[in-house]
Symmetry: C2
Subunit: 347 residues, 2 copies
């Protein structure tokens, strides 16, 4: 367990700030002017040597200034930093852009990713509140003619999922009705997870009373259901990658970029953060492609509607205190907006 003196702490803080703002290694002389106490550059050099021994700062070459190491950022984030109060203008932007009327949760969540990336110039990820508590509240089969049927699934949270299928023989609404009614009787009100489970056990058997070939129908129902139960990260500010990356090689650039495109893979990268705002720096991120970046993740709580996730990817040299402040604001504002949205369907 590392403990720093007051002065060492101030020096580390100043190094992190300078490097984050200017992007250049920080030397002892420039620190003399910035530190609140009156000490010579030699003294600072001595302290810096100690910070280096502790592994908190490193040199880029033998006689260069210092930059924070991963460990240094870590210490800074854990013990020195205080979250910055969100700028009033930023807060206005957030509230205004979430203030409009939305027809889908996904729109709200996607919009959040966009705003956050706009405010930070980094790349952001958002995940809607978990669906595990969602319940099936309605199922429809709408014959469209021409061998097509649309299956629609509604949850108690107002989520609507639909898919169109091509079927060998046209069906009339009358033929479909008993099946839909059966589904309604048996499954409405159950959590989606349970519906998925039942779908593999008792339902096929019972359904065979109503339909000669229940398999086709079950495929359809299952397909919409799993689409509704799937969880997808929204990515905002993908293009911002160009701002903060130091990569030159187009090949690496490409593979990084395509990582951001594989939204189904992002869950592995981001994981499930705890209650508080979590910062992972450099190689603390499990994915090798991101070992030179930092990832800030946080959950947000929407009462009994479960938790969602917001995340922020940027350079290791990012203004952590401002970013953490912003994440906090988003936690609150997004939760509030969604609570508002859900209330509409709870009535």
């Amino acid at each position: 367990m590392i403990t720093l003196t007051e002065r060492q702490s101030l020096i580390l803080k100043a190094i992190v700030r300078d490097y984050t703002e200017g992007g250049n290694p920080v030397g002892s002389k420039s620190l003399v002017e910035e530190l609140p106490m009156k000490v010579s550059s030699a003294t600072i050099r001595n302290e810096m040597a100690r910070l280096e021994d502790l592994g908190l700062i490193v040199k880029t070459h033998l006689s260069s200034g210092r930059i924070p190491s991963i460990k240094g950022y870590r210490y800074y984030v854990d013990h020195i930093l205080t979250p910055e109060k969100v700028d009033n203008r930023d807060l206005k932007v957030i509230q205004h852009s979430l203030g409009g009327e939305f027809h889908k949760i996904d729109e709200i969540v996607a919009q959040s990713a966009d705003i956050l990336s706009q405010l930070t110039s980094y790349t952001t990820f958002t995940l809607r509140p978990e669906l595990k508590d969602s319940r099936l509240s309605g199922f429809r089969l709408v014959p469209l003619g021409n061998h097509q049927v649309m299956a629609i699934l509604v949850t108690n949270n107002g989520d609507v999922e639909n898919q169109t299928f091509t079927i060998p023989n046209d069906l009339s609404g009358d033929e479909l009705e008993p099946v839909v009614r059966f589904i309604d009787d048996q499954l409405i009100g159950l959590p989606l997870q349970d519906v998925l489970a039942k779908l593999q056990q008792e339902i096929p058997l019972k359904l065979s009373h109503y339909l000669q070939d229940p398999d086709g129908f079950l495929d359809i129902f299952g397909s919409v259901l799993s689409k509704a139960a799937s969880e997808r990260f929204y990515v905002g500010g993908k293009l911002n990658l160009f701002n903060y990356t130091s990569l030159q090689d187009p090949k690496e650039m490409r593979s990084l970029y395509s990582l951001l495109d594989q939204t189904d893979n992002l869950a592995n990268v981001i994981g499930s953060p705890g209650q508080h705002i979590q910062v992972r720096i450099g190689n603390e991120i499990t994915n090798d492609l991101l070992k030179d970046y930092s990832l800030i993740t946080a959950t947000y709580d929407v009462d009994q509607h479960g938790q969602g996730i917001i995340a922020l990817l940027g350079p290791t040299a990012m203004p952590y205190s401002r970013m953490i402040g912003l994440m906090g604001a988003f936690q609150r504002e997004l939760a509030r907006k969604l609570l508002d949205y859900y209330r509409y369907f709870d009535e």
Copy 2:
């Protein structure tokens, strides 16, 4: 009007080929070995000087080898090149990947963009056949409970478009039925364009017999309708940009990339190509961001179902003959597949 001698033509052809394959300016000595006739490098130098006078090739500096100019590529494409027969393996790939079963036209069109970009390592754009001949074949309003209604629109080509709306007061199916029936009577069978037109004229008046407040309903219907009538390019191989661009500056990279993201803007860039395969090179493309690239565009015909567009963006130094061959193959295969698809709904 430029006319080249047989020998000049062969030299230009060789320069284009060499530069396209190797990426380096081509000198007179290396051409000696490649040309089918027996001439010295000095002779080739003389010919090259003439080609340069004509503006077909240029030097990168006073004593460098030559590279084709825009005008040179133009001449090559117009007078020298012969489309390459499509590799059998490539044809298999195309046919196989379009061979599967699709539930939506958009899936086929998007898939085509992906395959073509995969085969070429460039970026591709595809547009589905024009909708102008599509006719409205069905309209549904499905109440979902919780203040939500889904509007579904079906065309005679099997296109399905849907959108969910939040409405102030819940409506039952019974209330909606006369409205839907009215729409069916008045509008089914008409081309979408005509439907759009009528929607702004006679319909609102007549509809007021059935509904107290037709405006809300018309908004809904109009919204789905315009969604169905909107034409969107699919973009394939966006990431391939990293392969063929020579840009270093992340800022330019970014603006180029975001051009590809604005799918609604692409129509301006791509235009409406004529019957044949059209090649635009460098500054022949109207968009300034693309002045260092080449764009190959072509239409494909699906009989009475209208025309679609495929396009290919790559470096000016691209193997035109192979690319034009591939575009030809796609014209045929995509048209065939779509004809097949439509036939299903024509029955």
